[in-house]
């Protein structure tokens, strides 16, 4: 068992903590080996009762990170190093036997996925899905369970009739609300929301966001909220982490990150948001995100960075606390930022980037 000794983890305030987490896709086909380093050394934590946002452009490793903390790993994706700890299991998620791991699912850890057509089984009525997902955790009789589901829907201001419907009979927004109801029924400690509003139109998006916020604060769950849409982050998240090429480059209170971005990549993302009355053309970054199969040496952002220095080409900047609750991985941001190893450690325990 890899029980963490001397962990700074405060059981009361942190719900999730990842340490130097690395998840790679490893493929072998027609004799060619490929390694895609989608999540490459992420250390972060989510506090009790907060919404932690993760932002970054597509293929920066957001979805892989989600899979890694949700233990939704299947080949060719592998966890190559690091830890995922939850306070409700008081242990590394990957050290749990698979039986215990599935026992915490939905009871303690639930998910809201992108609200497309396909998240709910197309040939199963909604109430059956509720039963499949939650019944075994509620420890009550079937009719009692049905009453509980109805009460829960009422609390979320959803009509009880939807329980008899098939997914295709509901609108996209309604399906997403059903998913939120589904994810919060067991009042889990932790909810993972992966682009939950992306496929919805703007008006519905606003309602769904309000509903997520309300239910989260009502039940006191913690949440990780992933979307590429910074405007959504500004609306809903308490803290925000910015990912670039498989790494966390900046993290802080959402308001601080927006008002005082310290990483040039974050600064660029925020500067490119539209503002009313601003007629300046937006500057685009040169180049494109690096291939995760063959990432650049040193800081992964340096080929596109306007502030790149010599050290950035060779050394990987550590994520360093530069202001209260604000961490940045950039040599240009402060001289206190130290290099850290770029390579996968032989003994994961030996290396820690959290300071």
């Amino acid at each position: 068992m890899t029980q963490i000794s001397g962990s700074p983890l405060d059981e009361n305030s942190y719900v999730l903590e990842t340490r130097a987490l690395r998840a790679y896709y490893r493929m072998k086909y027609f004799g060619i080996d490929r390694e895609v380093r989608a999540v490459d050394g992420i250390s972060m934590h989510v506090r009790k009762n907060e919404i932690y946002g993760i932002a970054g452009e597509s293929s920066c490793g957001k979805t892989t990170f989600i899979k890694a903390i949700a233990a939704a790993i299947r080949p060719p994706l592998e966890i190559v190093a690091g830890h995922v700890n939850y306070n409700f299991i008081n242990n590394d998620l990957y050290a749990l036997p698979s039986k215990e791991r599935s026992a915490i699912r939905w009871r303690h850890l639930s998910y809201i996925l992108q609200g497309s057509m396909n998240v709910l089984n197309p040939v199963r009525r909604i109430h059956k899905t509720f039963e499949d997902f939650a019944f075994r955790h509620m420890h009550m009789g079937r009719s009692e369970f049905e009453q509980e589901v109805k009460r829960h829907l009422e609390r979320l201001r959803l009509p009880a009739e939807i329980l008899r419907a098939y997914p295709h009979e509901l609108s996209g927004g309604m399906r997403q609300r059903v998913c939120i109801a589904l994810a919060t029924l067991c009042k889990p400690e932790f909810i993972i929301a992966d682009e939950p509003t992306t496929a919805l139109d703007v008006v519905v998006q606003k309602d769904v966001l309000a509903m997520i916020r309300e239910t989260q604060s009502e039940f006191g769950s913690s949440m990780i909220f992933v979307t590429h849409d910074l405007a959504v982050h500004a609306n809903i998240t308490d803290r925000l982490g910015i990912m670039y090429a498989g790494r966390l480059v900046e993290e802080g209170r959402t308001a601080d990150v927006f008002s005082n971005p310290m990483h040039p990549y974050t600064a660029h993302l925020i500067a490119s948001l539209p503002r009313i009355g601003d007629i300046h053309p937006r500057n685009a970054l040169t180049g494109s995100p690096p291939s995760l199969a063959d990432p650049p040496k040193g800081c992964r952002f340096h080929p596109r960075c306007p502030l790149a220095m010599e050290i950035c080409r060779h050394e990987n900047p550590a994520l360093t606390t530069l202001a209260e609750d604000h961490r940045v991985a950039c040599f240009a941001a402060s001289a206190t930022v130290q290099p850290t190893s770029d390579e996968k450690p032989q003994h994961p325990e030996a290396l820690e980037t959290v300071r």
């Binding site: 493929m27 072998k28 086909y29 027609f30 004799g31 299947r74 080949p75 060719p76």
Partner: protein, 286 residues
């Protein structure tokens, strides 16, 4: 092309086995050109001799050497399957392409006709045809009729591929860049469709050979042209099972079964090569 072949042979067990089986089958069929006997001559050698050094597969009650009979039979059976598959591929490709591209009313009409041909049971029709034509039903007539009736299933497959290709982005790009539709079809889309045609070619050969063997065993074909089914028909006629001449059944059955398995393996290995998802699956398993 050679690289594809080499990769398939090296990394795809089904392809390697199927290919080797088909090489053996084709080799045996090819030796028919060196046969010392004419295919339909009978009472040339000792009757009912079991397999021996002189007659590797033995001889039958009609005084024929089973090995040399088999070489002719395999050649004819393969040629039959090849012709049916070739003609019906042309039909299904044409109908699938037209239906997939034209869409609308043309598509609905063609697919109604298509589904009709999928549903109609062919076997009674072929029996009826034999019943009416009798001696005029040569193997070539049979091949033409079967090709004319055997295109429907794959036409539907090709149509669905065409519809998905038509809605892909690169088709629109080609349209906007001013390429004419026939050019888009032949240059942009055929490369996607041809592997499917190739894979269904094998399946169709299996289907037509299977039906031909069945008809021949019942004696509902031109039994004077040696085919695998015809050999079994004559064995039945001479009650070979009762008189214990098992080799008369065994060798044709063995070789036709090998042919089916060989063609089938080639077809599924092609399918796997075409389908990116099964390729991904392979990655996961290695």
């Amino acid at each position: 092309m050679i690289a594809v072949f080499r990769d398939l042979f090296r990394y795809n067990g089904e392809f390697a086995i199927g290919f080797m089986i088909m090489m053996v089958i084709l080799g045996v069929a090819a030796t028919s050109f060196f046969s010392p006997y004419a295919p339909i001559d009978s009472y040339l050698v000792a009757m009912d001799a079991p397999p021996s050094a002189e007659y590797v597969f033995g001889t039958n009650s009609r005084g024929q050497d089973i090995f040399w009979q088999l070489t002719f039979a395999l050649r004819n059976t393969l040629a039959f399957g090849f012709i049916v598959a070739l003609i019906s591929r042309i039909l299904s490709l044409a109908i699938g392409l037209i239906s997939g591209y034209a869409g609308g009313a043309v598509d609905r009409v063609l697919m109604s006709v298509n589904d009709t041909f999928i549903v109609i049971p062919l076997f009674p029709l072929l029996v009826l045809l034999y019943f009416v034509l009798r001696d005029d039903m040569t193997w070539f007539v049979l091949a033409l009729v079967m090709a004319g009736l055997g295109w429907a299933y794959d036409a539907r497959l090709i149509r669905s591929v065409m519809i998905s290709l038509r809605t892909r982005e690169f088709t629109n790009t080609s349209v906007f860049s001013g390429m004419s539709m026939p050019r888009i079809v032949t240059q942009e889309h055929l490369p996607y469709v041809l592997p499917i045609v190739f894979s269904t070619f094998m399946n169709n050969m299996n289907w037509s050979i299977g039906l031909e063997v069945t008809l021949a065993v019942l004696g509902f074909t031109d039994v004077d042209t040696p085919t695998i089914g015809g050999m079994i028909f004559w064995a039945n006629q001479h009650s070979a099972m009762v008189s214990g001449i098992w080799w008369w059944y065994f060798f044709p059955t063995l070789f036709v079964t090998l042919t089916f398995i060989g063609l089938f393996l080639l077809s599924i290995s092609m399918n796997e090569y075409i389908d990116p998802r099964s390729r991904l699956d392979r990655m996961g398993n290695s």
